[in-house]
């Protein structure tokens, strides 16, 4: 039963500001510590860097105040903190590269991309005044999503980097369209599932105590499964394939509440992965690396050996409980230390303590996302918010799990932390969407005043009235409706009573 607690009608913008200050101080403190440790002076661009980061945080905060005043106050600061810590580590690795005589300005590039990401998030926040608008683009999102996924396969456009064909080259830049496809597919799945959830939840035959869905409803999951396998085979990317399939199964479960879909999904994927592992050398190699990373023969093997993974483990181990401190470890010894392996770099310099703090930040972000999904009233919003929250958690799990040998290593990047434009941009858009949905979730509703009980409640599964609004009615204005403060006050008092 979803209930909006009386306390939650506090908008929380003040709390958001305080947390934002902490987040910015954390990021800038890390940035300064790196240079102080390595060069014994503040970074040359410290004030410019600080200015940009503070400006971005302030602009976002003001935009949220204006366009989404009831948005969750924790989501934005956590994203800013992670982004700031990531910038500091990228800067630290820049310094290491410069010390070795290579020119490296990744931190500056990443800051530019952060600005672009924040601008995109601001744009989304300002122009998407109601997330339900997105439901109109369900099938457009599908076409866009699948198109983005397939883009790297277009000859002349796609680039194969380190065996995986998931990049496209645009001028001097490389993009990972899959990061954006993740968003489009979340919108598509949410729109599709909210319409078809009843059909998909229909009970079919019972096998081994599990109530299976009707056979005729297997179509969609088979299509997505086939698409994910196609990514695995054609683009040779286990990570993206895993990401999309996990997203789909999770959202399917939320929509239907049927565990059988999860069992079916996992079985299908495990079967597909096992088939791929036996049929394709690169997948088999990944599994071998995962299981026998420390084996000297596999360590020495090139390409496809475990040396990167093991070097990451060495880095984390040398960090111990408290880490070497910013700038005092050797994270540059691990290949791709600023992108794929930034978690290992942070583990080395910040230690287990720092790594756990970072993972807790993600956990907070994800759980706030789920809280938004529970709080929001329409089914589409629930599915979209939970999909976005889950895809974030899932990506973190796949990345860090790969580095810590919980699962085989894949080529995904850590949201917000890792160097890489596509990922950062896409994740800032996720933040904007979560903020938008949370605004709607936390906004006090006048509905209960219409003769109903004064403690506002939300019908758990009956989302039709909201959906109707989304499809046919005008988009509700985010501006304050007259009398709203009064309503809030009444609810508060009732809540205390």
């Amino acid at each position: 039963m979803a209930t909006v607690q009386p306390g939650e009608v506090r908008r929380g913008r003040g709390r958001e500001l305080i947390l934002l200050v902490l987040a910015v101080v954390l990021g800038l403190g890390a940035y300064a510590s790196v240079s102080l440790a390595v060069e014994e002076s503040l970074p040359a661009d410290f004030y410019a860097h600080s200015g940009v980061l503070v400006l971005l945080a302030v602009v976002l905060h003001l935009l949220v105040r204006y366009f989404a005043p009831y948005a969750d106050p924790v989501i934005l600061p956590v994203a800013v903190a992670l982004n700031g810590v990531g910038l500091a580590m990228i800067h630290r690795l820049d310094l290491a590269a410069q010390a070795a005589g290579r020119s490296s300005e990744l931190a500056t590039k990443q800051l530019v991309i952060t600005a672009v990401g924040v601008a995109a998030a601001a744009f989304l926040l300002a122009f998407l005044r109601d997330h339900r608008t997105l439901r109109r683009f369900t099938y457009t999102a599908m076409v866009v999503g699948l198109g983005l996924v397939l883009l790297p396969l277009v000859p002349g456009l796609g680039n194969e980097i380190r065996g995986a064909r998931i990049w496209i080259g645009v001028g001097d830049y490389s993009l990972q369209p899959a990061e954006f496809a993740k968003l489009a597919l979340a919108v598509f799945f949410a729109g599709y599932l909210v319409t078809n959830r009843d059909t998909l939840a229909m009970a079919g035959p019972k096998v081994l105590g599990i109530q299976l869905p009707r056979l005729r409803d297997f179509g969609p999951i088979l299509v997505v499964w086939a698409a994910c396998l196609a990514i695995l085979v054609l683009e040779r990317d286990l990570g993206t394939s895993l990401l999309f399939f996990g997203l789909f199964v999770a959202m399917l479960y939320v929509a239907t509440e049927r565990v059988s879909w999860i069992v079916i999904g996992l079985t299908l994927f495990a079967g597909g992965a096992a088939l791929a592992a036996t049929q394709f050398g690169h997948v088999a190699a990944r599994f071998e690396v995962w299981l026998n990373a420390m084996d000297p023969a596999i360590y020495e093997r090139s390409p496809g050996g475990s040396s990167q993974l093991v070097k990451g483990l060495f880095g984390m181990a040398s960090g111990g409980l408290f880490g070497t401190g910013w700038g005092q470890g050797h994270p540059q010894l691990v290949p791709f230390a600023s992108s794929d392996f930034i978690t290992a770099s942070l583990g080395e310099e910040l230690g287990l303590t720092g790594l756990l703090a970072i993972l807790l930040c993600y956990l907070v972000l994800v759980e706030r996302g789920f809280r938004v999904a529970i709080g929001v009233r329409d089914g589409f919003g629930k599915l979209l918010a939970s999909g976005l929250a889950f895809v974030l958690a899932w990506q973190v799990f796949v990345v860090v799990g790969g580095i810590t040998r919980v699962i085989p290593l894949t080529g995904l990047t850590m949201p917000f932390l890792a160097y890489g434009g596509s990922s950062l941009l896409a994740n800032w858009l996720i933040v904007a969407l979560l903020l938008r949905i949370s605004d709607s979730a936390r906004r006090p509703t006048p509905l209960p005043l219409r003769g109903g009980p004064l403690v506002p409640t939300t019908p758990e599964d009956d989302d039709e009235p909201d959906d109707a609004v989304a499809h046919h009615g005008p988009v509700p204005s985010p501006e304050h409706e007259p009398g709203q403060e009064q309503v809030t006050e009444i609810i508060r008092q009732e809540g205390r009573a």
Partner: protein
């Protein structure tokens, strides 16, 4: 949908939790193995990144770390290079560590458990953690004297303080320059290391503690000790000293050095036999005392056991099974008897210190970078192989060796020196090894020294322990006494 959402958020929570568990496992439980993995260059980087403590002799650093501009941060330097190489060992990024650099690594790099408090202080004060200094027992004067006196001859010198067991000098020649192995250019280091390994003279070997040589006539000290301990002999006991000693059960005949006659009437006192190092007298004495008594005396002096000083040492050997002619040969330090120079110094130190053999040690004091004492070695007793009476009798007999016998080259003006020479046959064609074991002053010994010069040194086939090794021992003893 909310029930499913709650469950899914629980799934996300469990996923994050599993990552935290995995991270904890790597950072804490798997870390020791990962840090010790030889493919992990970080451990070396980190060690070099910290200021490693110096190794100190008489207040001066013989190994120290100085800041360097490369990725390692510090360069290990050995100001006196080869002179102290057997003590310091080397510290290489490619080939690891040896000697004190190896055995005292954890205090030198500051990771030892005993340094926990000082690491904690460094954490609180924000200071860069620094390694502790290791002060060794070596006397710079004795070490230098031994080095100079040995010259370019192959051999080794060990000097001990018989009252404490402190190692005062430890020289092995030819030596090597640890600076070449501590360089950060891995290909240069590799070339140098391969060259040292291929060198026929094995400069990387510490001859003082790891090479075994036939002890020759210096072993007569043990035969005499066995005889005295048996109670049937004293210094003045007259024993047979034939010109030639036919060995029973064989056709071999034992003669004396250069075919000389020991005594006109073919018998002499035990003291005189030792003084002129009469082979036939000691061959017969050994057979009379018996192989078992010789073996137990040798074991009581430390043959067959390895001591750590803390460098690992090779145990010396007294054969397990001996027939009668072999016993005669063993009694003059031939056949399969083999001893390290350190072992012979330990024999000398037991005689010098009234029968009490002190444990040899090289590390005196460990201090933190703030000069707080972390540990200081307390002298300890290793064994009591002989009684004080036997020790004093032997001392008097050894003084006779230096004042009027084979060891006269070890005399020091105004000081009574006790000693015993040895000239050990190796193979028939190679020149003999020259030995000297002695201590001074005889009545209140401050230093005991054992010298070996391989294959006669500069004198070649003409060499004797008295001519080649005794002057070296004299130089070392004089350096300590004065």
């Amino acid at each position: 949908m909310n029930a499913a959402l709650r469950r899914l958020s629980l799934v996300a929570f469990v996923m994050m939790l599993s990552l935290m568990v995995a991270a904890t496992y790597i950072h804490v439980f798997a870390a020791p193995d990962l840090n010790a993995d030889n493919r992990n260059v970080r451990t070396i980087y980190r060690e070099y990144g910290n200021s490693r403590g110096p190794i100190i002799v008489d207040g001066e650093s013989v190994a120290l770390s100085t800041p360097s501009d490369d990725a390692f941060g510090y360069q290990r330097e050995y100001p006196q290079g080869p002179l102290y190489a057997p003590v310091t060992g080397f510290y290489s990024i490619v080939f690891g560590r040896s000697a004190i650099e190896y055995t005292q690594n954890s205090v030198l790099n500051g990771t030892a458990d005993s340094l926990f408090i000082s690491r904690l202080e460094a954490l609180v004060t924000g200071e860069q953690p620094r390694g502790s200094s290791v002060e060794v027992t070596i006397s710079a004067a004795a070490q230098q004297a031994a080095w100079d006196a040995l010259g370019d001859q192959r051999g080794a010198v060990v000097a001990l303080d018989p009252k404490t067991g402190a190692v005062l000098a430890m020289v092995s020649k030819p030596s090597y320059d640890p600076n070449d192995l501590a360089a950060h250019d891995t290909s240069l280091v590799n070339d140098e290391y391969q060259r040292l390994l291929a060198d026929d003279d094995s400069p990387l070997i510490n001859r003082a503690t790891t090479n075994r040589y036939p002890p020759g006539s210096t072993f007569k000290l043990l035969v005499a000790a066995a005889a005295l301990e048996s109670g049937a002999y004293d210094a003045d006991t007259v024993i047979p000293a034939p010109d030639q000693l036919p060995l029973p059960q064989s056709s071999s005949i034992m003669g004396n050095f250069g075919g000389a006659t020991c005594a006109p009437d073919e018998e002499m006192t035990l003291a005189d036999a030792l003084r002129i190092s009469c082979n036939t007298a000691f061959g017969q004495l050994g057979m009379d005392v018996g192989a078992d008594a010789l073996r137990s005396t040798a074991q009581a002096f430390g043959f067959g056991t390895s001591v750590e000083i803390p460098l690992k040492t090779t145990p010396s050997v007294f054969p397990g099974e001996l027939d009668v002619p072999q016993t005669a040969l063993a009694s003059i330090g031939q056949f399969d008897v083999a001893a390290t120079p350190l072992q012979m110094a330990l024999v000398g130190s037991a005689i010098a210190n009234d029968g009490v053999q002190m444990s040899p040690y090289l590390v005196d004091t460990v201090r933190t970078a703030d000069l707080d004492v972390v540990s200081q070695t307390e002298p300890s007793e290793l064994a009591r192989p002989i009684s004080a009476t036997t020790a004093n009798t032997l001392t008097d007999m050894m003084v006779g060796v230096v004042t009027g016998g084979s060891g006269s080259a070890a005399q020091i003006r105004g000081v009574d020196v006790a000693g015993k020479t040895g000239t050990a046959q190796t193979t028939t064609d190679a020149p003999p090894h020259a030995w000297f074991v002695g201590f001074a002053p005889a009545d209140d010994p401050e230093v005991v020294v054992a010298v070996i010069v391989e294959n006669g040194g500069n004198l070649g086939a003409e060499a004797t322990g008295g001519a080649v090794a005794a002057p070296i021992a004299r130089a070392v003893m004089q350096a300590v006494i004065s």
